[in-house]
Every structure is written in structure tokens, then in C-alpha cells.
């Protein structure tokens, strides 16, 4: 038996023995997701046990080095673990911006001290992170951000405002882009700072979205003290870190987005609502829309596969991530439009129990943000035309 087969056998046995039955059920809604952190209320004992057992193995962050609380797995082993978890429908034990964004940034740019301070609590699900990038006047034009961090000798003093901070009201720490050199040009003079959301002077206000939910906040900083050792990468070179993470974030697109539609086929869903005639969906136009969408999704997945292969062969993903971001989000919006067409009146219900509190309509509305957050579709097309097509500037 090869080492990888051996690993698979052990992993399978361990998961069988340690993954609670309750944690093998599909998420009913986003609310079933375990975010972790100081304020986290576990939905059940099973959720807590599952997170702790996985954290003990280092498998909440399978590929991070062991000395920082990760699993130290090779990409091949991590894939085996993912496959084995999928085999039994095991839920992700815990995840938040610490895993998705800060961890990769620290591993690439962080000092040894910062890695040792921050990575293990992420892996154990003890600290939940949020991301402070956008500002009221710095959205698509992120680099024009104005939040200031003034050097006060033994600390920085941070003043300013962030917006669209995901779950800032529930997070424990924030990684934040701040201007440390107001005289430098736009992209220079920005630093990547870390601080505790319980620090004096931090306040948050949830923003109610068109979906009726509030996954984002406005976040205010009023004379917040930040340690000088809490800068990731070089001072004034925070844009490099941010750019790396934006690319990293866009690369993650391509997997199936979470939500009600995950793993669900639209054809049978539509059949439940519009009925069938001669074995085909009764609404021919809807049927054609679904087929066209699914064909486009299949083509998108084929491209994702190709770009990933090229990236693994060392050609890098680079600006191709903008292609993935554009099509991934636009397709997801189309998927929700078709879903709403299929659901009819039932999709419009906003509060009923049978729709899990208007889940369909809320997710449909939430999907509209996909092509805005993380770089709008228009910004992506600009990146493609300049960096991939070499079209000239005006």
C-alpha cells in the first residue's frame, strides 16, 4: 500500500470514529456554519466536539505547518482528507476569515512572532477574524483608503472608518488596511495592521441589506491603539499583502458557492413547481434557460480546471483570477435568477417556515453582491483587458 493509500485508510477510520452523526448532515442554512471565536455559541455539543477533535488533529487548517497548529499535510494528503470528508458529508469543522485570508497572508508575509501569536488560536477556533478593507470613499478604488495610523513612538494610533466589514460585530480581531504614510503615493504608504476588536475606540454598526440580513458592518476607529509589532509584512508595503490576498480570494472562486443551491440541480427543482409534460419540464422557455445555464457552468468549470492545472504547472494564475471572479459570480447570479423563476410564488415568501424564513428570496438578493464585493465585475473586466489582453490605457 502506498503512503497515500495508507493515509486514506487511516483518515477514513479516524473520521468514521470521530465525526459525530449530526455533523454529517448537509447545512440547512448558513446559520449552521461554525464560525468559532470568543463569542461563538455552539449550536450543539456535536458542533463543539467536532471542532475540537479536528483542531487537535490540526485538520481545521490541514495544510498549515504543524508548529502553528495546522495539519502539516501535503496538497495530495489534503485532497485525500477533503475527499474522505465529502464521502461522509462531514461539515467543515470551523472556518472564518482567519482561515481564508489572514492565515495565508501571515504564512507568506508574517514574522515568526506574528505567526506564533495568531495562527494557533485560528486553528483552534478560538479567535474569529474580520477584514477591514473598504471605506465609504474607497470601494472599487480600494487604494484610495483614508484610515490613518499615526506613529506614536511605542504604538500606532488608528482613526477612521471602514465599511462592508463582514461580521465585524461578531469577530474578535481585525486585519485592516491603514495609511501609515500620508505623503506617499496612493499604493505606497499603506500598511496591513492587526488589532483586537475589543480595543478601546472600536465600534461597529451592522448594515441591513436588501436581503434583510446584516452580514456586514460599518466599523469606526476612534484613537485605537495598535501595537507596533502588529504589522504584517513591511511598513508601508501593505498593498502587496492586500493584492496577494485579493488574488488568493478570487482563486477560491470556482468551487460551488455555499447556500441553498449547493449540490442541488435546478431541473428537478423546477419540475416540482412547474410540472412536466411528456417527461420534459412543462415550461419550455424555463427548461431552455436551465439547460443554457448548466452548459455555461460546465464550460466555466472546465476553464477553472484548466487554469488550476496551469497554475500547478508553475505558470501561475495571476490575472486569470479576474476571469474566474467575473464568470463565477455572474453565473451564480444567473443561477439564483433561474431558481426564482422556477420557484414562482413560493420563492417570494419572506418569513414562512416552509421557506426557512424566506431563504430563497434572501439568498437570491444576497447573490447580487457577488459581482460587487472583492472587486466589481467591471473592475475585473478592466484587469482582463489591460493585463491579459494588453489593451492600452486611455
Amino acid at each position: 500500500m502506498s503512503d497515500l493509500e495508507q493515509f486514506r485508510a487511516e483518515t477514513r477510520a479516524w473520521l468514521e470514529a470521530n465525526c459525530p452523526e449530526e455533523m454529517r448532515q448537509p447545512l440547512k442554512s448558513q446559520a449552521d456554519h461554525c464560525w468559532g471565536g470568543r463569542k461563538w455559541q455552539f449550536q450543539s455539543d456535536a458542533q463543539k466536539v467536532w471542532m475540537e477533535r479536528m483542531a487537535d488533529k490540526g485538520w481545521t487548517a490541514p495544510q498549515w505547518p504543524k508548529e502553528y497548529g495546522g495539519g502539516g499535510l501535503s496538497p495530495e494528503e489534503a485532497e485525500v482528507l477533503a475527499e474522505e470528508m465529502k464521502r461522509i458529508n462531514a461539515r467543515t469543522p470551523v472556518s472564518n476569515f482567519g482561515f481564508w485570508m489572514l492565515g495565508p497572508a501571515l504564512l507568506k508575509f508574517g514574522s515568526e512572532e506574528l505567526k506564533r501569536q495568531h495562527l494557533p488560536p485560528i486553528c483552534r477556533g478560538e479567535i474569529r477574524w474580520c477584514q477591514g478593507y473598504s471605506e465609504p470613499n474607497a470601494g472599487s478604488d480600494l487604494a484610495s483608503l483614508q484610515t490613518r495610523a499615526e506613529d506614536k513612538g511605542d504604538h500606532f494610533l488608528v482613526n477612521g472608518q471602514k465599511i462592508w466589514t463582514s461580521y465585524a460585530d461578531k469577530a474578535d480581531w481585525i486585519f485592516c488596511l491603514v495609511r501609515t504614510d500620508p505623503n506617499a503615493s496612493k499604493h505606497n504608504g499603506i500598511s496591513f495592521a492587526l488589532f483586537d476588536m475589543e480595543s478601546e475606540g472600536v465600534s461597529t454598526r451592522p448594515i441591513e441589506l436588501i436581503s434583510g440580513e446584516s452580514p456586514f458592518c460599518e466599523t469606526f476607529f476612534d484613537d485605537v491603539k495598535v501595537g507596533k509589532d502588529q504589522i504584517v509584512g513591511e511598513l508601508n508595503r501593505g498593498w502587496d499583502v492586500a493584492k496577494y490576498l485579493l488574488t488568493h480570494e478570487r482563486n477560491n472562486i470556482g468551487g460551488e458557492p455555499p447556500g441553498f443551491l449547493k449540490g442541488r440541480a435546478l431541473g428537478p427543482l423546477a419540475a416540482e413547481h412547474v410540472g412536466t409534460e411528456h417527461g420534459k419540464l412543462a415550461d419550455g422557455a424555463l427548461r431552455a434557460d436551465i439547460a443554457r445555464l448548466e452548459i455555461d457552468q460546465m464550460a466555466f468549470q472546465a476553464l477553472v480546471g484548466k487554469i488550476r492545472e496551469e497554475a500547478e504547472a508553475g505558470q501561475g494564475v495571476g490575472a486569470q483570477s479576474a476571469v474566474l471572479k467575473y464568470y463565477g459570480t455572474e453565473l451564480n447570479k444567473r443561477r439564483y435568477e433561474v431558481m426564482m423563476d422556477a420557484l414562482g410564488a413560493e420563492g417570494l415568501e419572506w418569513e414562512s417556515e416552509r421557506t426557512m424564513g424566506g431563504l430563497y428570496a434572501r439568498e437570491w438578493l444576497r447573490s447580487k453582491g457577488n459581482s460587487i464585493e472583492g472587486g466589481t465585475s467591471e473592475v475585473m473586466l478592466g484587469i482582463v483587458s489591460k493585463r491579459l489582453l494588453g489593451l492600452p490605457d486611455a
Binding site: P268, A291, I295, A299, E309, V384
Partner: protein, 365 residues
């Protein structure tokens, strides 16, 4: 899917061959002199010499048995150069049908001949203006050892130069391919020059004697699948070339005192087109690979790939003409050829709507 070393070498050599010996200018010349055969004979001979005519012919019959990915790589370059050859009709459709459903005798007779380029075959499927192989009207009636065919066929590629017709006909409940000698009594072949300057004939069959295959139903299914997959690759290559020519034009053409490629409206259209072309190409190659691996979802993938490629090629042709402006509308300029071929290639063996319909059927809705 990633190309292996052999496939990579094939791609490189075919790219050179098509660019050198089968460029767009040849299509124009064939058209302008209303060539009797209607295809690029010197190019076809060069393809024979390179073994490309036997790309899907098994080795025991004198071919190189390279698989559909290989055929797709050839088709992609054919698409880029709008090369005019009987590659699809003979090396793909004829070879696949015979290798899949031919009797030993039929295979021995025809497959080596296809590989060595001494025959051209034509597949006759459609009995109406639209491709609907599930409802074939042409009838096959038992007569002695063979059958007699009655019906009419459209869009029969290369029929006027063919040495063998493979005709889809209904016999009772089943639909199968039958072998017909184009010179047999009762066969009328009306050569039609199509919008893309290729040859597709109308064929009439009036009590024509035909030869059944060992498994004519399997032959038809295999030929349709292979043909659609290869067409998806050709259309993707065509779309890529139309896009690249247009991109180049955006970097050269000046209006209002600046390069038109600086205008955001055109930049975004070009970016969108690049994405669509890349997706069409990736899906086509994935579908060809699925066929070679005999994957469970090969049929679904091929239908998706053909539907996507047909739409994207047409989009690329339209966008190319639009972004070239007035010059794109002139016959003197080559870009219009891409639009024309996109329309004809998209229609062949099932357009995007047909493929999407079958795709939905296979996905149970």
C-alpha cells in the same frame, strides 16, 4: 485535462501544417475559381502524408488510432485557418462509423482506404432543414441480402466528391446507418455551395440498393458524438482566431485621434469575448477527453461542448465584424469568413438549441 507529450507534438506540428498549407487565403481562392472539388487538395495530400486522415482509424487497419483529443487538436487548427478539407466527413465521421459498426469486411475495405486518403466518405443524416436524428424519415426496406432506401437528405458534407455515402435510415423501430454507393441507381446528388463556401449536397434516394452495417445504430451514434465533439473543437479554434484578429485590430485602428482599444466599451467586450472563447475551448477539450476515456458523462459533455462552441463561435464572428466596423462588412477582408463558418459549423450535426434540448433530456428535465 492536460495534453500528453504526443498530443502536444501533434498540436505543434498540425498548427504549422495548417498555417503553411491551409490558410484562409486558400478558402478564398477555392471560392473564387469555383473549384470543382471544392476542397484544398494539396493540403489534403499533406494531411494524408502526415497520417492525419487515419487519426481515428485503428492501427490494425493502417491508421494511427490517436483518439478524439488528437482529432480535436487537428480540428482546432482547421478552425483557426478555415482550412477546407474532407477531414470531418471522412477522417472523423466515416472512420468512426465504420470502426464502430462496420462488419469485418466493410472495415477491411474502407478503413485502410480512409487512412491512405484514397477515398472520401459522406454522412447523410438530416432529412429536413433541422438536425433530428431521433425522427429519421428516410426508410430502409429489406430487399434480398440488402435493403432499399427511399428518402431525401440535406447538409451532406462532401457528398459530390464522395466514394461512399453513409445514410441514416429507419428500419422498423430502429434507425441505423447503411452504406450506399454514390453512383448507384436512384441516387441524385445536388452539390450546394453553402454560405461558408463549403460543399454540402442535397441527396435524393429513390429505391436505392444499400448495404447494412454490422451495427448501423451504434455506428450512427458514435459518428454523431465524434462529429459534434470535433466540431466543438473546430468552432473553438475559429472563435479564438476571430477574437485574436479583432484584438490585434483594437491595438492598431485609430479613431477620434486614439487607438480604439483604449475605449472601455470595447475593452470590456474584448475581455468578455476572451472569457467565452476560453470556456468554449476548455469544454471542447474536456469533452473530447471524456470520449477517449469512455466516461459515463461523455455524451452530456459533448452536447454541452457543441452547444457552447456553436454559440461562442457565432458570438465571436459577430463581435469581430462589429469591432472591425465597416471594413468587417467587406468581402475583401477575411474576418467575414469566420462569421460565415461559425453559422454553418454551428448548424452541422445539431445547433445549440438542439444540443441543449438533448442535454436537458439526458439530465432528466
Amino acid at each position: 485535462m492536460k495534453l500528453n507529450d504526443e498530443q502536444q507534438m501533434l498540436q505543434d506540428s498540425v498548427a504549422r501544417l495548417m498555417a503553411d498549407k491551409g490558410p484562409v487565403s486558400h478558402l478564398r481562392e477555392l471560392r473564387d475559381r469555383n473549384d470543382e472539388k471544392g476542397y484544398d487538395e494539396p493540403l489534403w495530400h499533406a494531411m494524408v502524408e502526415s497520417g492525419l486522415t487515419g487519426i481515428l482509424v485503428p492501427e490494425e487497419h493502417g491508421g494511427i488510432g490517436f483518439g478524439l483529443v488528437g482529432a480535436g487538436l487537428v480540428a482546432r487548427e482547421i478552425g483557426r485557418n478555415l482550412s477546407v478539407t474532407p477531414f470531418l466527413s471522412t477522417a472523423v465521421l466515416g472512420a468512426t462509423a465504420l470502426a464502430t459498426g462496420g462488419s469485418v469486411k466493410q472495415q477491411q475495405k474502407w478503413l485502410p482506404a480512409i487512412a491512405e486518403g484514397s477515398v472520401i466518405t459522406a454522412l447523410a443524416v438530416d432529412d429536413g432543414a433541422k438536425h433530428r436524428p431521433e425522427a429519421i424519415k428516410t426508410e430502409a426496406k429489406a430487399a434480398g441480402d440488402g435493403v432499399t432506401l427511399n428518402g431525401g437528405k440535406l447538409l451532406v458534407l462532401d457528398a459530390h466528391v464522395a466514394d461512399l455515402l453513409l445514410v441514416a435510415a429507419r428500419q422498423g423501430e430502429s434507425t441505423a446507418l447503411f452504406l450506399v454507393d454514390p453512383k448507384a441507381e436512384g441516387v441524385t446528388i445536388e452539390r450546394n455551395r453553402m454560405v461558408d463556401d463549403r460543399n454540402a449536397a442535397r441527396v435524393t434516394l429513390d429505391n436505392v440498393a444499400a448495404e447494412p452495417m454490422a451495427d448501423g445504430a451504434a455506428a450512427l451514434a458514435a459518428a454523431l458524438r465524434a462529429g459534434r465533439a470535433v466540431l466543438a473543437a473546430e468552432l473553438s479554434g475559429l472563435a479564438r482566431e476571430a477574437f485574436e484578429r479583432t484584438l490585434q485590430y483594437l491595438k492598431e485602428r485609430k479613431q477620434f485621434g486614439r487607438l480604439i482599444g483604449t475605449f472601455q466599451a470595447l475593452q470590456h467586450r474584448a475581455a468578455l469575448l476572451m472569457g467565452e472563447v476560453s470556456m468554449s475551448d476548455a469544454l471542447a477539450m474536456q469533452a473530447l477527453d471524456a470520449c477517449d476515456r469512455n466516461a459515463d458523462d461523455a455524451e452530456v459533455q459533448v452536447l454541452a461542448a457543441k452547444a457552447k462552441a456553436a454559440r461562442v463561435a457565432l458570438l465571436a464572428g459577430q463581435e469581430a465584424v462589429q469591432m472591425h466596423g465597416g471594413i468587417g462588412m467587406t468581402d475583401e477582408f477575411d474576418i467575414g469568413f469566420f462569421l460565415k463558418r461559425a453559422r454553418a459549423g454551428g448548424e452541422t450535426l445539431g445547433d445549440a438549441n438542439y444540443c441543449a434540448d438533448r442535454f436537458a433530456v439526458l439530465r432528466d428535465y
